[in-house]
């Protein structure tokens, strides 16, 4: 098994990509630590008196009726799917946007084509009432 050797490039700012994300990593650890510390402090201070009524699931002040399972509509799934498609489209747009100033007219034409095709999909969803709720 060979190791993948990648030389680290040091851009002029003097920071490698890894050290930048090391900051993000350390920051994330701190961000996790703060609520945990907060909750620990609260756990020490607060009263702990569980009883049946308090622990029951909330349903507007009454006992729960029926199973805890929701009639799930296909509508949610469709919204999520249309979102996936447009999310991927947005991801394609970003590198194009950054390289745009260095490219020629063909870059514009290709992106117009890309967006128009996806917009056509959106129109189809619109007409078929996939974007309605209820």
């Amino acid at each position: 098994m060979r190791e993948l050797i990648v030389a680290r490039v040091r851009p002029k700012g003097g920071q490698t990509v890894l050290s930048q994300y090391a900051f993000v990593g350390i920051f994330a650890i701190i961000a996790f630590a703060l609520p945990i510390i907060g909750l620990a402090m609260s756990w020490l201070i607060r009263p702990k008196k569980p009883n049946r009524a308090k622990n029951a699931t909330y349903e507007c002040g009454m006992e729960t009726i029926g199973d805890t399972w929701v009639q799930f509509k296909a509508q949610y799934y469709l919204f999520a799917l249309i979102f996936v498609v447009f999310d991927v489209e947005a991801i394609f747009i970003f590198p194009w946007a950054i390289a745009y100033n260095k490219l020629g007219l063909y870059a514009l034409v290709e992106m117009v084509l890309f967006v128009v095709i996806l917009f056509g999909g959106l129109l189809y969803a619109w007409k078929k009432k996939a974007l309605e709720w209820h």
């Binding site: 900051f23 622990n55 699931t57 970003f94």
Partner: protein, 387 residues
């Protein structure tokens, strides 16, 4: 005197030189990261302490009442009183809740609100890290919030929480696209995703070049943070507290802190992208002024958002989702293509920017006209007034 001109950067530099004498270079980096991390992680907390007071005062005044004025002068210690209250409340975990997930959700939602601050530039060279994919990083952190909401709704073992969580996720997903597209428009004009770079490129604040992108961004951001008028999921009369219905005490507190942290972060990003961030008069000569301009502009944006909250009526969920997909997304796409076309024209930059401005205004005009016609048709169909 020169030291004070660039006060914050010079302070950081002196500190770094001082600790470098005793530690290897990587340890110096780690110590600096820890300090900056702790400062930035406190931003959502600071946001909650100050913005809750500001909001209650502003909304109070809009509704012709005073707002909190008991705890401290003008009620400024109200938030601390609220924080203490949340700390000492009993933490009730419902019976069949999924305990690890239930406990993880508030932590994760706070992480989502806090991590955003790593890329926001407070001044020249005053960024946590100027990541070369800064703009995308911001949106990616938003996905963490979405996951946390779903976890909260599901782990509560409460069908209303679950229903609320699904609706919130649908709302968050729907408004993420217009937000991403308006950011993409700004990135297109500037040519880099670095947040620091975007501020540097704003010789003219982009709100004057791309007003449509600014408006779309503000509306999408209001929906992303779950504020009015898109807050039907927390509306007390509709679904009680929505996905965090079963949370009490400090766990609820973290949801609350995350909401205001997100509000501050989103306003800060709007300032960075559209209002010129830390730019202002004399800032090249005295870079230490940068953070002050930044704070002032962010407070202005926050005030606008609170103003909107106090005055506009709430949307229904189908109106809200329809608005996102049928109005904001096409408008943003049209804007993106127009800006791309304008950028391609071989003219000096001010001319290009002026063309983009004209295009933006035209799209706003067209969008409002179409909306007006659709509203008329809707009113005629349902026999409402205004037909």
């Amino acid at each position: 005197m020169d030291y004070i001109r660039n006060f914050f950067v010079n302070l950081a530099q002196s500190w770094t030189t001082w600790i470098s004498t005793g530690l290897p270079p990587w340890a110096v980096d780690v110590v600096n990261y820890l300090i900056v991390g702790v400062i930035l992680v406190m931003m959502p907390v600071i946001a909650t302490l100050t913005l809750t007071w500001m909001e209650r005062k502003v909304i109070g005044r809009i509704q012709n009442r005073i707002g909190p004025n008991r705890v401290g002068p003008w009620g400024i210690f109200q938030a601390i009183a609220d924080a203490v209250k949340m700390l000492i409340k009993e933490d009730i975990v419902p019976d069949n809740a999924d305990k690890p997930v239930f406990n993880l959700a508030p932590i994760l939602i706070f992480v989502g609100a806090a991590l955003l601050w790593a890329v926001i530039p407070f001044g020249r060279n005053m960024v946590g890290q100027d990541l070369s994919i800064g703009a995308l990083y911001v949106i990616a952190i938003g996905s963490i919030t979405t996951v946390a909401v779903l976890m909260a709704g599901w782990a509560s073992n409460n069908k209303y929480a679950l229903l609320g969580a699904f609706r919130v996720v649908a709302q968050l997903l729907s408004y993420e696209i217009p937000m991403v597209l308006s950011m993409a428009t700004v990135v297109l004009v500037v040519g880099t995703m670095k947040m620091g770079g975007i501020v540097e490129a704003q010789i003219v604040p982009f709100v004057l070049v791309l007003p449509l992108a600014f408006i779309v961004y503000l509306l999408a951001a209001t929906a992303e943070t779950g504020r009015a008028p898109f807050d039907l999921l927390e509306a007390d009369s509709e679904i009680v507290a929505g996905y965090f219905i079963e949370y009490s005490g400090l766990k609820f507190g973290w949801f609350y802190i995350a909401e205001y942290g997100n509000l501050l972060a989103v306003s800060a990003i709007a300032t960075t992208l559209f209002l010129g961030g830390w730019r202002g008069p004399f800032v090249s000569a005295v870079p230490a002024l940068g953070p002050f301009y930044f704070v002032i502009k962010t407070v202005v944006v926050i005030f606008i958002l609170m103003w909107i909250r106090g005055t506009w009526p709430r949307f229904r969920i189908d109106q809200m989702l329809g608005f996102a997909w049928k109005v904001l997304v096409p408008a943003s796409l049209a804007n993106l293509l127009w800006v791309a076309t304008a950028q391609m024209i071989p003219a000096p930059t001010p001319v290009k920017w002026f063309l983009m401005l004209i295009g933006n205004v035209a799209i706003i005009f067209v969008a409002l006209t179409l909306l007006g016609q659709a509203a008329k048709r809707h009113a005629a169909k349902h026999g409402l007034a205004g037909a």
